[in-house]
């Protein structure tokens, strides 16, 4: 049961109020007739399934009925941010990888200090 911050209602709400709508930031080709069958097929059917940071489109279905984006870690299910339609994510796979490398260094230092086997 996720606890999701709706950027329009400006508060955390229970997952049961929301519907997930798949990967975020998939723009419909502006001129579909100019898009090849393959490109159109990619737009329709192909989605990322990353282990780690994923940007998703959700709707606050039982609530304000607004669509918005969630950046979520598919490993821990942690929601890293939510942001409105039209905005770009502040957290990305790259930024998280960098931060994790950083904190791993710190954690391994602490573990050694306390003599706790990891």
């Amino acid at each position: 049961m996720f606890h999701i911050y709706c950027p329009y209602c400006a508060e955390y709400r229970e997952e049961e109020e929301f519907h997930p709508k798949g990967q975020a930031h998939i723009a419909r080709p502006a001129d579909p007739t100019a898009s090849s069958d393959d490109a159109w097929g990619d737009y329709l059917f192909f989605r990322d399934n990353p282990r780690g940071v994923h940007h998703e489109l959700w709707v606050h279905a039982v609530g304000c009925r607004k669509f918005f984006n969630i950046t979520r870690d598919t490993r821990s299910y942690a929601i890293l941010e939510t942001y409105r339609m039209g905005e770009q994510p502040g957290v990305t796979a790259e930024s998280v990888t960098l931060a994790e490398r950083d904190s791993e260094r710190k954690t391994s230092d602490t573990a050694t200090m306390q003599g706790v086997p990891s």
């Binding site: 209602c9 709400r13 229970e14 049961e16 109020e17 039982v62 609530g63 304000c64 009925r65």
Partner: protein, 224 residues
Amino acid sequence: MPRFAYFDPHPARAVTTQSPLHQFAATASGGESSVVLRENAFLDHLILRGESEVLIASVQAVLGLALPTEPQRLVMGEAGSLQWLSPDEWLLIVAAGEGFRLQRELREALGSAHFSIVDVSGGQTLLELDGACAVDVLMKSTAYDVDPRAFPVGRGVTSVFAKATAVIRRVDEQRWELVIRRSFADYCLRWLLDAGEEYGIDYRPAELGATISRAAVVDTETMS
């Protein structure tokens, strides 16, 4: 060409009127009841949509209500109540028969701006809930945090209610309101009576035969 169609749903002369809960008779828990549930039926419910900057002045002028622009805010005044539903959507509840007149006045005040006003009076009804255990009954029914410490008077939210949905509002220290959809009303009321059983719950139905007269008899008014 007219931009919008007006429609006054109320008959010129009183006719049979049925609330969605008309078949529920008054019940009393027998013991000492700590929850009382009433239907406040036949009010006029309107959905206002538009950018808040577009609506705010006209709403103030016509309704005498300050359009709530903060999420989850409910304002109450003589004209009725006005609740934030989304950044561009509000629920206006006014006395029976007032909706059509106010809709006309709002549309006139708003002129050529982009907005929408929709009458939904037949589609929902209002339940009042009060008593010492009203909050407990709500806690059984919605995952939204209705603890009075977290839910001040003047807050209203749309959330999941049992397996249906409801608008939940706190109108004063003791009193709560639920706006429920007509088609789910039977289910919601049965749910509430069941959830309230352990505390003792009384149900008071809407008064029957409420006569709703038209504010103005206009069949098809158009506006260019």
